[in-house]
């Protein structure tokens, strides 16, 4: 995904990347060049490739995430173009939550800004493994290496303070998204930079693998009981359907179903009518157990002996996404895996000031605030810490009066 402050050139960068990798087809190019002309621009405005909404084009800004797809022959990419405006931070968080790599853009003329910090902090918080810091618009600074070096040094100081530099793989690159320097082609303007181009960095970054070593977690999404079927063999069929959020499982493994703690063994694993001996993270499968166990949506199947227990209190970092502030007096709904619970705020430990990283006391949360909060739950949840297991450590907060998603939570 791309992120960073307003007008740093995120959308232009994606447009350029698509253009230089020949992903843009002729008719799309004609369309955007017509639109550019209509808007009185001399050159084709490549940001129009992702800024697809009327309101975005009128204002020349990104409002919501656009998803674009390209492949290089070796790899297929899903790129998300996030908005830089503070007002639309929640859309940046949407894009960040599923990203493996973030390109954080910095305008070479302006250096590290508040929004650069906020996005870096959020990227760190949601656990994006690979960070590419792209110092853009180098053409406007005479492609001066000193400018680049200074910005990189500034950024590193901040990245160390928030723990980003220690925990993640960070790379730096100078570029001009408008000209195409260092995206796909190196061009001649920055001979002093000998590192990889952006595309080379993307091609080299390992794909999502961080959860590969986590323990087996299988939240049940749906229970298949075709008892009314004419087929007598299916009379006792009871399949637990879901996606393996982490770890792997094989036929014969001993499992426990939470929160009740019933134990059994895996009798079969299926995808459609294909029978599997084993299955792994991210596969959507149907699991059959040896014993008849009362299990429904919201339960979680784990391997017997795994260290996970139902809890009725959780502590988490929450990013508030709604214009309506979070009120400690209200009850919210927490959706965690396939399970929901009513939740009350037991206490707000502190709020984080993204600029100073200071911890401040808080009694409510406004949009874009990040705070550490204790929740009391009506129903037990089976949780891991977010840093150990993203899928089992994440939740969303829902406001029942509007059904809106108002918060993003990461369990400590």
């Amino acid at each position: 995904m791309t992120c960073g402050s307003v007008d740093d050139g995120k959308s232009t960068l994606i447009g350029r990347l698509l253009f230089d990798t020949k992903t843009i087809l002729a008719d799309t190019l004609t369309q955007i060049s017509n639109t550019s002309k209509k808007r009185g621009m001399e050159a084709v405005d490549l940001s129009l490739l992702t800024d697809g909404l009327q309101a975005e084009r009128e204002q020349g800004i990104t409002i919501d995430v656009a998803y674009r797809y390209f492949s290089t022959g070796t790899r297929k990419y899903i790129i998300a173009d996030a908005p830089g405006h503070e007002q639309y931070t929640r859309n940046m968080v949407t894009a960040a939550s599923t990203a493996n790599l973030a390109i954080i853009l910095i305008d070479a003329r302006r250096g590290v800004l508040t929004q650069t910090r906020r996005h870096s902090y959020l990227a760190h918080l949601v656990g994006i493994q690979h960070i590419v810091v792209a110092v853009n618009k180098m053409d406007l600074m005479n492609y001066d290496q000193a400018v680049y070096d200074k910005i990189c040094a500034d950024y590193l100081v901040f990245a160390k303070e928030i723990g980003l530099a220690q925990a993640r793989d960070i790379r730096f690159i100078p570029m001009s998204a408008l000209n195409g320097d260092m995206l796909v082609d190196r061009l001649e303007n920055m001979p002093w930079y000998t590192g990889e181009t952006l595309l080379e960095m993307l091609e080299d970054a390992p794909a999502a693998d961080e959860e590969q070593n986590a323990e087996f977690r299988f939240p049940v999404q749906f229970v298949c009981r075709p008892h009314a079927s004419a087929d007598a063999d299916l009379h006792d069929f009871r399949g637990f359907m879901g996606r393996i959020e982490s770890g792997d499982i094989a036929v014969g493994d001993a499992v426990t179903v939470l929160p009740n703690g019933y134990q059994s063994k895996v009798k079969a694993i299926q995808i459609g009518d294909a029978q599997l001996k084993s299955a792994q993270t991210e596969q959507s499968v149907t699991i059959l157990l040896e014993d008849e166990i009362d299990t429904s949506r919201g339960d979680m199947i784990v391997k017997t002996g795994s260290k996970i227990e139902p809890v009725k209190q959780i502590e988490a970092f929450v990013c508030w996404l709604s214009e309506t502030p979070m009120s400690p007096a209200r009850t919210y709904v927490i959706r965690h895996t396939t399970r929901e619970s009513k939740a009350k705020i037991a206490s707000i430990a502190y709020k984080v000031d993204v600029n100073t990283l200071e911890q401040q006391p808080a009694t409510e949360l406004k949009m874009n605030d990040i705070a550490r909060i204790n929740f009391k739950l009506a129903q037990p949840l089976m949780v891991d810490s977010y840093t150990q297991n993203r899928a089992i450590g994440a939740f969303i907060v829902i406001d029942e009066s509007t059904n809106n998603t108002v918060g993003a939570g990461m369990i400590v």
């Binding site: 087809l25 656009a66 929640r90 298949c224 087929d231 792997d248 949506r297």
Partner: protein
């Protein structure tokens, strides 16, 4: 206990990953919504979704009926195929007709030959109300169009069926929020992240049957509005549409359709790809987007899809 050092994983292939994601989304709809429906047109995207639904729910029945909003201007082959596929699956198919909305007076055409695609929204909203559906599963993909590129996987619509692109629900991780109040609606798009290429590769891998018009065939064509239009198409009721106007020349050409939709606004492309693997090759080398040359309804203005979606279109 699992040995934490153990590493015996092969990452899923891209198609397997997309498939697993789509199945997950379908099951979330089934788990969260009380009365969902699967929009099924007989087209390639919805045929992929049917296969995904089989993988998601068999040996059980689908936890939703299928529904087609028929403009009355669809190819007979596609309609026959639609009915045949629903029958093979043994699933319930609901058909609602734009022509009935016209009779009711809720759809008013400006001219009798105006494309009816955008009027599907009215009939769809009427059907949603008639059956009380709280979620419609659709085959839209983000790579199809720039407004679609912006849409969530679970996309909220208010009681007028409107999409508010400037104020979408945040959608985090794969924790989908398909909640709605009575009268409101969710549109769920399980193959949001698929490209046209992914769809064709999936069709090839799964050996899916498709209506014949997707493959190269000979057809009478006229040029209209800069696009190739199929000429003299006979509908089920005997009516012949897209008749050449004065000055329009009919030429027989070898073509195929990249998307199926209302006959009056869906154009074919020149092609000799008569099987799926040839289509995969053609898709890899094409210089024109799927809807670019083929959907006249997208070309009326720069933002026509966004406009239609705001009004309740899928």
């Amino acid at each position: 206990m699992l040995n934490k050092k153990q590493k015996n994983h092969n990452p899923l292939s891209h198609l397997d990953w997309l498939e697993a994601e789509a199945i997950h989304i379908l099951r979330e709809v089934a788990g969260q919504c009380s009365n969902p429906v699967l929009l099924f047109s007989g087209g390639k995207d919805s045929l992929c979704i049917l296969r995904l639904a089989e993988k998601a729910f068999r040996p059980g029945r689908f936890p939703f009926p299928l529904m087609h909003i028929d403009t009355g201007h669809n190819y007979q082959e596609v309609i026959d195929f639609r009915d045949q596929r629903a029958a093979e699956l043994g699933e319930r198919l609901i058909v609602r007709n734009v022509e009935d909305s016209m009779k009711r007076g809720t759809v008013v055409l400006k001219t009798s030959d105006e494309p009816r695609n955008k009027h599907q929204s009215v009939t769809l909203l009427e059907a949603i109300e008639e059956f009380g559906f709280d979620c419609c599963i659709g085959g839209a993909r983000r790579d199809e169009e720039k407004a679609r590129a912006k849409e969530r996987i679970m996309s909220f619509r208010d009681e007028f069926g409107q999409w508010d692109p400037k104020n979408q629900r945040p959608e985090l991780w794969s924790l989908y929020n398909a909640r709605s109040h009575k009268g409101e609606n969710i549109r769920a798009f399980p193959i949001s992240n698929w490209t046209e290429m992914d769809v064709w590769q999936y069709i090839e891998r799964e050996n899916l049957q498709l209506p014949s018009i997707y493959f190269a065939h000979n057809r009478d064509i006229i040029m209209r509005g800069g696009a190739m239009m199929p000429a003299n198409v006979k509908l089920a009721d005997g009516e012949v549409i897209n008749q050449p106007k004065a000055g329009e020349i009919v030429t027989n050409m070898q073509v195929r359709f990249r998307t199926v939709g209302d006959i009056t606004c869906t154009a074919p492309v020149l092609s000799d790809a008569d099987n799926v693997s040839k289509i995969v090759l053609e898709t890899a080398t094409t210089t024109i987007t799927e809807r670019g040359a083929t959907r006249l309804d997208d070309q009326t203005s720069d933002a026509s899809m966004e406009q239609r979606k705001k009004e309740g279109y899928f």
